[in-house]
């Protein structure tokens, strides 16, 4: 039963037939290719609005423009894998030459990435890897061992090598986070028997969540001596909460942070030292690697070498990954020299 209201427009049956025909038509044409000759590179970080990725993608952009390509950055608001999938699909539809992605989950985006590779896009992961079968190359900022070791060493130093510690991580499924947390646990067990890891909480790379989770940690574990936060969003939020809390100076905080965000807290004593690498270099290296793949200079096999502008020459290892370097420790003495 239809009840009609007064309408002024018409068109319906023609429109219905037309739309059906058009949807059928849509299946016939070829996918269009890239714009005349310039390499198109799309950066897809874990989420937008994250200062770490703002820096890394800016580095990538500079590199892409240096070699004359076209740069584009897309990404979801929330760091979830199913939010990344539509952007991977769009990249495949647009026929971009290379997709540089930091994965929110090692497996969930695999199908989409493989579909993109079938459509001719080269896939380079950076910062957070996927399963090796769904990407062409992985750009690693530092070895997971190296990162875990520097974190544990810093916190041990700051709490006197004994006491309770907790970890404030990002998203529970992020590949890099989980790799680091596992190695940290092993390192603590093997080398620091007096330090007890009491909790691992997840801030989802969201500032408010990380802030609230820090508050909850301090409430639930009154004897907590240290917090490790290997995520730039997490450590910034935790530092902000700690600096107004009664635990400032009593609970040590370290992790991976950007100098600009942490400068105030290092100055006022909330944080003694923390580590990171230069995300801009990471992004640039990823861009150069993507270009080398697109041009055919390398194929991702072990032993391939390529040029990465100012950064030098890099070699692909046998896991199809490229290493940027070692993590760097920032503290009160050197933080003034950096601007990112």
């Amino acid at each position: 039963m239809k009840f009609h209201t007064r309408r002024i427009t018409a068109l319906a049956s023609v429109a219905m037939a037309a739309s059906l025909t058009l949807t059928a038509c849509g299946g016939d044409s070829e996918g269009t290719a890239t714009e005349g000759g310039a390499t198109t590179v799309t950066f897809l970080p874990k989420n937008l609005g994250n200062p770490y990725f703002d820096t890394s993608d800016a580095g990538g952009k500079a590199a892409v423009e240096a070699f004359g390509g076209t740069y584009q950055e897309v990404g979801p608001d929330a760091a979830t894998p199913d939010a990344q999938v539509p952007f991977i699909n769009t990249a495949a539809q647009q026929g971009v030459n290379a997709l540089v992605v930091s994965a929110d989950d090692p497996n969930a985006i695999c199908d989409a990435l493989n579909q993109a590779r079938q459509a001719g896009t080269k896939v380079v992961t950076f910062d957070s890897d996927t399963d090796p079968t769904c990407r062409d190359l992985f750009i690693n900022q530092a070895t997971s061992d190296g990162i875990a070791k520097v974190e544990v060493d810093l916190i041990a130093e700051q709490i006197g090598d004994s006491g309770e510690v907790a970890i404030l991580s990002a998203a529970a499924n992020a590949t890099n986070q989980n790799a680091w947390i596992d190695l940290m646990k092993k390192d603590l067990q093997a080398n620091h028997p007096n330090i007890k890891l009491v909790d691992v909480v997840y801030g989802n790379d969201d500032d408010q969540t990380s802030f609230d989770k820090t508050a909850a940690l301090l409430q639930a574990h009154p004897n907590l001596k240290g917090i490790i936060s290997p995520t730039t969003v997490g450590i910034a939020a935790a530092a902000r909460y700690l600096s107004t809390s009664q635990y400032k100076g009593k609970v040590a905080l370290t992790g991976l942070g950007t100098p600009n965000q942490m400068r105030d807290y290092v100055t006022d004593g909330t944080v003694t030292s923390f580590a990171l690498w230069n995300p801009a270099d990471l992004g640039a290296l990823a861009a150069y690697a993507a270009k080398a793949l697109v041009d055919g200079t390398i194929t991702g096999a072990a032993g391939d070498t390529f040029e990465a502008g100012d950064l030098g020459t890099f070699t692909v290892d046998d896991k199809a990954s490229v290493l940027l370097g070692d993590p760097f420790v920032f503290d009160k003495d050197n933080i003034a020299q950096f601007n990112f």
Binding site: T9, A10, L22, G27, D82, D105, A108, A119
Partner: protein
């Protein structure tokens, strides 16, 4: 929904007038307008948006909107009775988590896990239905509560982990195409359900009862429609279909997470309202709703290809929603004005009055 402060526009409450020729009755409807708008958007995008005519576009479009398509079917029926169900996205999340846990931890095969998820979805719907139909609570409040409850159970069961190791056989199957075309296989499942729901709504006494409940619950009750049972069954249907959409969602993205499909309920409701179903109940048809879902999907797809970000897409969809709902009221107001004018209840404008000799003293 009968929770509006202000009374409903009267002209939406008249019966179809058979003095109009059949083509006017078909074309001058909201559904026709949505379908026309959809056709316009598709034509325009094919011509102007680069890469829209790629064979991948439609394929991804349909893969993306399938959950919304599925849930919009029973949601239409629920809205036609004047109720609403905001907990659908949480049932999707819960069924997704269940499939993940049952498969990963309990080692069950996907079909068995899926079946259990469907049963749980039906139970969720039963809870909603019982509270709304038999206890008599307002559906807005109840479903806001169950939205939080079911989502909470989903997140609680899995924490912030996610299950992502689903057998390749199944994740590939849900993304399989029909032959070599751009249409995914799941559209067949959807088509079967759509035909079923269309028959239910338009060709059975049960469906007729649904419209009557939306128009006037008391009158429906006195005409012999079992109002409570109808509403109860509709909520059970919604829960089951949402669970089905959850199974699809999990396999399509290969990831079972507690926060899967957060916010999906708003997209479903937006599509349903866009498709011409009246929020007051008593009016609506499925073809408009399907067109509404595809319209929103097509607009999002075109905008993504143009590299417009999520925010612009949100503004467009929100504006469409507001405009489509306002257009009914606007038209009702205009037609009421026209009738009043015709009946002489409204005076002519000042200039025309001045031109009429016998009206003195007016400016």
């Amino acid at each position: 929904m009968s929770t509006s402060t202000l009374s409903r526009p009267e002209s939406a409450r008249t019966y179809a007038s058979y003095s109009q020729p059949w083509w006017r009755r078909v074309l001058f409807t909201r559904e026709a307008a949505v379908i026309a708008l959809l056709a316009a958007v598709l034509i325009w995008s094919n011509l102007n948006v680069r890469n829209f005519d790629s064979p991948l576009t439609l394929y991804f479009l349909f893969l993306d909107i399938t959950p919304i398509l599925l849930i919009a079917l029973p949601m239409t029926l629920v809205v036609v009775t004047g109720e609403i169900d905001l907990s659908v996205a949480s049932v999707v999340g819960l069924s997704s988590v269940l499939v993940g846990i049952l498969h990963h931890d309990a080692g069950m095969s996907i079909p068995v896990a899926g079946l259990i998820a469907l049963v749980v979805g039906a139970i969720c719907g039963m809870v909603n239905g019982f509270l709304v139909a038999y206890v008599g609570l307002p559906s807005l409040a109840v479903t806001i509560g169950t939205l939080a409850l079911y989502r909470g159970i989903a997140v609680g069961l899995l924490g912030t982990k996610a299950v992502t190791d689903f057998p390749h056989k199944w994740t590939k199957l849900v993304q399989e195409r029909i032959g070599g075309s751009s249409y995914p296989l799941v559209l067949i499942v959807f088509a079967v359900l759509a035909i079923g729901f269309a028959l239910l709504l338009h060709a059975t006494p049960f469906g007729r009862g649904i419209f009557e409940i939306g128009l006037n619950k008391e009158a429906a009750h006195f005409s012999g429609v079992n109002v409570e049972r109808t509403k109860f069954l509709l909520f059970v249907l919604t829960g089951t279909v949402s669970a089905l959409a959850g199974i699809y969602y999990t396999l399509r993205y290969g990831s079972a997470r507690g926060d899967n499909a957060t916010g999906l309920e708003l997209q479903v409701i937006a599509a349903v309202l866009l498709g011409g179903v009246s929020i007051f109940g008593g009016r609506g048809a499925l073809h408009g709703v399907i067109a509404g879902v595809v319209l929103i999907g097509a607009i999002s797809s075109a905008m993504r290809l143009e590299n417009l970000t999520v925010n612009v897409i949100n503004i467009v969809i929100g504006s469409l929603l507001v405009l489509s709902v306002m257009s009914t009221s606007l038209l009702a107001w205009i037609s009421a004005l026209a009738t009043a004018r015709h009946n002489g209840a409204i005076r002519l404008g000042k200039r025309r009055q001045a031109a009429m000799h016998h009206r003195k003293g007016n400016q």
